[in-house]
Amino acid sequence: MESKKKDRAGETVHLEFESHSHNEQFARVVSAVFAARLDPTVEEIEDIKTAVSEAVTNAIIHGYEKEIGVVHLDLTIEDKSLTIVVRDEGAGIANVKQAMEPLYTSKPSKERSGMGFSFMEAFMDEVTVESELGKGTEVRMVKRIGSIFPL
């Protein structure tokens, strides 16, 4: 973990887990527990959990497909913001812009609506995606807590 000699500004926890579908829920809960420190509302927690779900499910379903790989989840708190980075070392995305379009999915089916990235964008304040074919994908999301009712 590079954060050993990090600046005093933020604090990061790092999580690694295998790309089994049941770990999607584990990642959701760990993110909620970490975010608890920012004293969010229940709605803000739900937003965070939905975004984590979508990003982790993508890593599991699209990143690793049939194989089992490691999903990395970094959670950082800095002032009143939570930054969530979900990373896989899987298939990668050829065209990120297209992948992020609402309703676009490379796996049309009942369960895949092509709305995953749209949900992340709707529920978080910032979403950026970096990907390289054959190398993997990194989704970085920021949520500012308490932006509606500043204390």
Binding site: R28, V29, A32, V33, D39, V42, E43, I45, K49
Partner: protein, 77 residues
């Protein structure tokens, strides 16, 4: 056998899944109540304070909704 029965009745012997679900149910009711009295969404700390639990524990328990239970059942049983 009195000893064993007492042991079985102890709260410690109930499954954590049930205990978490109970906390989640209480949290949903308390959230509505606090929302009305505060006139806005309660924060996690306010909700945890009202329920006398740790905010982190509450954040974990809130996952224990009915849908999640059935999801767990399909995955694990």
């Amino acid at each position: 056998t009195g000893e064993i029965k007492r042991f079985l009745r102890d709260d410690g012997m109930i499954k954590i899944s049930r205990s978490l679900k109970e906390m989640a149910t209480k949290a949903r009711a308390e959230k509505e109540k606090l929302g009305v009295s505060l006139g806005r969404e309660p924060t996690l700390d306010e909700l945890a304070g009202a329920l006398q639990v740790e905010p982190t524990e509450l954040a974990a328990a809130m996952e224990s909704g009915a849908e999640v239970e059935s999801l767990y059942k399909t995955i694990y049983h």
